[in-house]
């Protein structure tokens, strides 16, 4: 039982990681990987949710929040990340914004070959933009989220956390 729980990514633990790293604003567009996290974020008084309707807007919004002194996190899916390329380039990298992107890794699997091209191109996309990333599949990986925050702050660049837990955990 304990092993099974460990193999899932607990949204409570992800929320704790956000709080531990001083996140003030969650700029996000819903995706299937983070639905459960939404309910927790809504109930968390220290977080201000900023929903956007297109992922590219998340980068310019987060840039404004950072320049104004806040600590945003971007919560989107890999499909939307790919839609956001120019905004990531211009507003994220161009303005040296130290922001963590939590990216739902739609299609990710360790078993067999993924049939989802969203997964096929996710890491290639991040490589193309020079964005470093950390894969988080279970609660045991959650400390990597803090690593991403520390790296973003140190390098003054966006850093990605790929949430590879589509089929259990957040989506239970």
């Amino acid at each position: 039982m304990a092993e099974a729980q460990e193999a899932e990514l607990s949204p409570e633990i992800v929320l704790e990681e956000m709080k531990k790293n001083g996140v003030t604003h969650v700029v996000w567009l819903p995706d299937s990987e983070t639905n459960w996290l939404y309910l927790l974020m809504q109930a968390e008084p220290s977080l201000h949710l900023v929903p956007v309707s297109r992922e590219g807007l998340a980068f310019s919004m987060a840039a404004g929040l950072f320049v104004g002194g806040k600590t945003p996190i971007i919560l989107i899916q890999n499909t939307g990340l790919m839609e956001s390329g120019d905004s990531l380039r211009g507003w994220g990298l161009g303005l040296n914004i130290p922001v963590v992107l939590m990216v739902g890794y739609r299609g990710w699997t360790r078993h067999g070959i993924t049939q989802d091209t969203a997964a096929t191109y996710t890491e290639r996309f991040l490589h193309a933009f020079g964005i470093n990333y950390y894969l988080v599949e279970s609660s045991a990986d959650a400390p990597r989220i803090s690593v991403a925050f520390a790296e973003a702050k140190k390098t003054r660049r966006p850093v990605a956390v790929l949430v590879g837990d589509e089929y259990h955990g957040f989506n239970r």
């Binding site: 700029v27 956007v52 807007l57 310019s60 919004m61 929040l65 002194g69 806040k70 905004s87 507003w91």
Partner: protein
């Protein structure tokens, strides 16, 4: 229609200590501004993001007015920002829109349905509590003080003359006096932020 530079000269009288994101009005605003350290003339990092950048600033600094000079081409690229701003409802956010009916920096090609889009109506439809449209400079001048005297969010659509550029980008005269990194650093310092 009126000239962006003339409008900004009038606006300058009422700016107070607001943070200004000059957006597409940057080339005229930079030489006019008397408080450059409270400006964010970041140029055009990626088209369509000025309003959301300014909204982020407004949410981060709720005690300070944040004023953005967006353009209709930018807004059309990301119309979805209107309901986000309306939902967040930052009372310190003032959204000015320079509508020249074209993509001036690429040679003046018209934006879609250029002469028939009512951006003030779009803003109201998205949930902005107030929105205005001005085609005459005199009307703008007569209303700007009252607009800035009321809480946001508000959208002010303005018909401005296009300043069409056909010169190859590499040969255009730069109006920026600071690079983006310096602009961000100066503003954060002005706001008392470190790091």
């Amino acid at each position: 229609m009126f000239r962006t530079a003339d409008m900004l000269e009038i606006f300058q009288q009422y700016r107070g200590d607001a943070i200004v994101v000059p957006g597409r009005g940057g080339r005229h605003w930079v030489p006019l501004s008397t408080q450059p350290s409270r400006d964010a003339p970041v140029g055009d990092p990626a088209m369509g993001g000025h309003a959301s950048f300014a909204c982020g600033l407004a949410l981060a600094q709720p005690e300070k007015k944040v004023i953005v000079f967006d353009s209709e081409g930018d807004l059309l690229m990301n119309l979805g920002i209107l309901p986000t701003i309306a939902e967040q409802a930052p009372k310190n956010f003032y959204h000015f829109l320079l509508d020249n009916e074209c993509y001036a920096t690429t040679g003046g090609q018209p934006v879609p349905n250029a002469k028939n889009v009512a951006y003030d109506v779009m803003a109201r439809g998205a949930g902005y509590p107030r929105a205005f449209a001005f085609e005459q400079l005199e009307d703008f001048a007569n209303n700007i003080q009252a607009i800035l005297g009321q809480p946001g969010p508000v959208l002010v659509a303005m018909k401005v003359f296009p300043e069409i550029e056909n010169e190859p980008i590499g040969r255009r005269q730069r109006w920026q006096t600071r690079n983006r990194e310096q602009v961000v650093q100066d503003l954060r310092t002005e706001l008392g932020l470190t790091g």
